[in-house]
């Protein structure tokens, strides 16, 4: 871009070539470079593009040729200079992960203007035939982010996010339901200045995720910010989960589908490992383990976004709120019922001494009975074998039709 600007500064002394001049060669459908690549530019495509309709000349972008008189011109030219008009966008782009990759790796695979906008047929993002139109953008990004070859060669650590997005509730809303208001890639990542999640200025930087999601999910963001997870995040606790920790970034599912309800136990358990294990041993947990979600999992008792510590009276599992929480599934139950421990741990005496000693008793009863009768059986077997042989010897020989 810097190089292009210096070329453009060379003031023309002769009239610049007109679009018709260019089309003398570039209008030929079979015109090719020396290496065989076509140089054809469809006149009507350019004419219907934003630039064509604005009356731009070829040399407005291909500034290197503005002062050229020698035709055919050299094959190697500076690239089209978008920045000469779109300086603000170009500076945004210069801060993006795509531009960084290009700067770092030189001739990079990373996207530049034409990769998303096209070349001669650039259209307004409001135009349904534009690759940057809301319903088309996922497919445009997927040309690289859904292409295993580009992902591999470009070392894109997050992998094939296009496939995940396509199967997410957001992706289905855009791609299947045609909802232009549903989030596409740029809603969360921005457009020209797409930044890494490690960059504090990024929309997807950890601390910014709640407000990014909250730009649509305002009501949920408010609940989250009031809850313990949002509070911890504001206090700078790095362990505090943000939206994407539970919902994932690209594969966001509707919260009431079975697969998600089963999966969320694992998500919560990533941090609350002990609670996950103690839940696993209850009837709620056992049924969930078997793959059925029509039973209480984490969020049914603790809620999803406005989670508060049990000591907080706002909590659904506080001593005062607990009964109403149990009654959601167990109508007509009382305070005694609600004193059931949904996270029992028979290994911890302090938590429930009765359960602790009952578990020990049951274990030793099992071990004792099986050990005694195991020994009894092991000793009996050879004796019984001999008794059978001796018994047979005492009996009369087997009659016809008998086994022995």
């Amino acid at each position: 871009m810097v190089v292009g600007a210096s070329i453009a500064s060379g003031a023309p002394t002769v009239p610049s070539p007109s679009n018709e001049d260019c089309l003398t060669c570039h209008g030929e459908t079979d015109a090719k470079r020396a290496d065989g690549r076509p140089i054809f530019v469809a006149k009507e495509k350019f004419a219907s593009s934003v630039h064509g309709q604005a009356g731009l000349a070829c040399v407005d972008c291909h500034t290197a040729l503005a002062a050229s008189t020698e035709f055919p011109h050299p094959e190697k030219l500076a690239p089209a200079q978008c920045a000469s008009c779109h300086a603000d966008v170009a500076s945004e782009y210069a801060r993006s992960v795509h531009a960084q990759a290009r700067r770092r790796e030189g001739a990079s695979l990373a996207a530049t203007c034409a990769d998303c906008h096209g070349m001669h047929d650039i259209r307004s993002p409001k135009d349904p035939s534009s690759p940057t139109y809301a319903l088309n953008l996922p497919a445009t990004c997927a040309r690289c982010h859904g292409n295993p070859d580009v992902i591999r060669r470009g070392h894109i650590a997050i992998g094939n996010v296009a496939a995940l997005y396509e199967d997410s509730i957001h992706g289905r809303a855009v791609l299947k339901s045609g909802l232009v208001t549903a989030p596409n890639c740029k809603t969360c990542h921005g457009m020209h200045d797409i930044r890494r999640s490690s960059d504090p200025a990024s929309l997807i930087f950890r601390g910014n995720v709640p407000s990014t999601c909250g730009s649509c999910h305002q009501g949920i963001e408010r609940l989250y910010q009031e809850g313990i997870h949002g509070t911890l995040l504001r206090q700078g606790d790095k362990r505090a989960p943000v939206c994407t920790d539970c919902h994932t970034a690209h594969h966001i599912q509707q919260a009431d589908v079975e697969a998600w309800r089963l999966d969320v136990v694992k998500e919560c358990g990533n941090c609350h490992a002990e609670s996950r294990e103690t839940f696993r041993d209850t009837y709620h947990g056992q049924v969930t383990n078997l793959g059925f979600a029509r039973i209480a999992t984490c969020s049914d008792c603790h809620r999803a976004h406005d989670i508060h510590p049990a000591a907080d009276p706002r909590s659904t599992v506080s001593t005062t709120g607990r009964v109403a929480t149990c009654q959601k599934c167990h109508p007509g139950t009382n305070e005694k019922f609600a004193r059931y421990d949904p996270h029992p741990d028979p290994k911890r005496r302090a938590r429930n001494p009765l359960l602790f000693y009952a578990a020990i008793f049951m274990k030793w009863l099992l071990v004792g009975v099986m050990a005694f009768f195991g020994l009894h059986t092991v000793l009996w077997f050879p004796r019984s074998w001999r008794a059978r042989r001796e018994g047979n010897a005492e009996k009369p020989p087997p009659r016809e039709g008998e086994k022995r």
């Binding site: 696993r280 209850t282 009837y283 947990g285 056992q286 049924v287 383990n289 078997l290 793959g291 059925f292 029509r294 039973i295 167990h330 007509g332 139950t333 009382n334 005694k336 019922f337 609600a338 004193r339 059931y340 421990d341 029992p344 028979p346 429930n352 009765l354 359960l355 009952a358 578990a359 049951m362 274990k363 009863l365 099992l366 009975v369 099986m370 009768f373 195991g374 009894h376 059986t377 000793l379 009996w380 077997f381 004796r383 019984s384 074998w385 008794a387 059978r388 018994g391 009996k395 009369p396 087997p398 009659r399 039709g401 008998e402």
Partner: protein, 278 residues
């Protein structure tokens, strides 16, 4: 197990009446059903458990079957208790509380345990068992205790709202733990020890049919329960017990049902052991 057709030397005598055989059969069916529908919960993190629970109609289907079998087993227990009550109150049969044909453990049983171990290692003769040997009494009381423990805790889990009216919530934690652990013991015990003691040991292999047919050869009774045989013979009651041999239809039915029961029980206990070892 001995020869099935009647022979002049092999008279058959009655040991279990039709009602006892019916109760054992009901107990067998409901126990297998309860184990089949309950074990997936106990080992819910294992892949076979998820498959099994799907086959049983999901957790709702399995829960429904589990409760139906539980009802059957409790009915079985209730009928047995009612019969004991009848024998005590109406028939004044105090002998079921103490004596040679009682299930109640007695000093003789302790002696016979020691004698039997001595016989196992070839240091003594086989004990002179009466109607119920000590391992049969253990089977009986294990089931009796299991009925109370598993049945009681199962009812607490089945009707939590009712029990929460007068019991603290921690009872449900306790009930789930005890229900599962005691059931595990029952499964491990019945499908290995009971199977071996009563059916699979070489003298009986593959199955002791007496609890299904109700009769056994007189010779077998004399050999295995000498004390009982002598007692009956001395009382002059033996002739009254002489029965016709089991019909071939009874034998076929016994073979089929016991084969299925033993196979299912062994599969379940193997799955259990596999799960416990992992």
């Amino acid at each position: 197990m001995t020869s099935e057709p009647a022979s002049p030397v092999g008279r058959y005598v009655a040991r279990f009446d039709p009602f006892d055989r019916f109760l054992h059969f009901l107990l067998m069916v409901t126990f297998l059903g309860l184990a089949l529908t309950g074990l997936p919960l106990l080992f819910s993190t294992h892949a076979w458990a998820a498959v099994l629970s799907r086959l049983l109609g999901g957790f709702r289907g399995a829960a429904l079957f589990h409760r139906a079998f539980a009802f059957g087993m409790l009915a079985c227990f209730g009928m047995h208790l009612a019969r004991l009550g009848y024998r005590l109150v109406v028939r004044k049969d105090w002998g079921i509380l103490w004596g040679p044909h009682s299930m109640v453990p007695q000093p003789r049983d302790v002696v016979q345990i020691l004698q039997n171990f001595r016989w196992f290692i070839g240091r003594g003769p086989r004990p002179e068992f009466d109607r119920y040997a000590y391992w049969e009494k253990f089977d009986y009381w294990a089931v009796f205790w299991g009925m109370g423990i598993i049945g009681g805790s199962g009812l607490v889990l089945w009707f939590p709202k009712f029990f929460a009216r007068f019991l603290p919530g921690t009872v449900f934690n306790l009930a789930l733990l005890i229900h599962g652990e005691e059931a595990l013991l029952a499964v491990c015990f019945i499908f290995t020890i009971h199977f071996f003691n009563s059916h699979l040991r070489p003298e009986k292999f593959p199955v002791d049919k007496v609890i299904f047919t109700g009769v056994l050869p007189e010779e077998e009774l004399r050999h295995e329960r000498p004390a009982e045989y002598e007692r009956i013979a001395a009382s002059g009651q033996l002739e009254r017990l002489v029965s016709s041999p089991p019909t071939s239809a009874t034998l076929v039915w016994t073979r089929v049902s016991t084969l299925l029961a033993v196979a299912l029980g062994l599969v379940l206990v193997l799955l259990t052991i596999w799960a416990l070892l992992r």
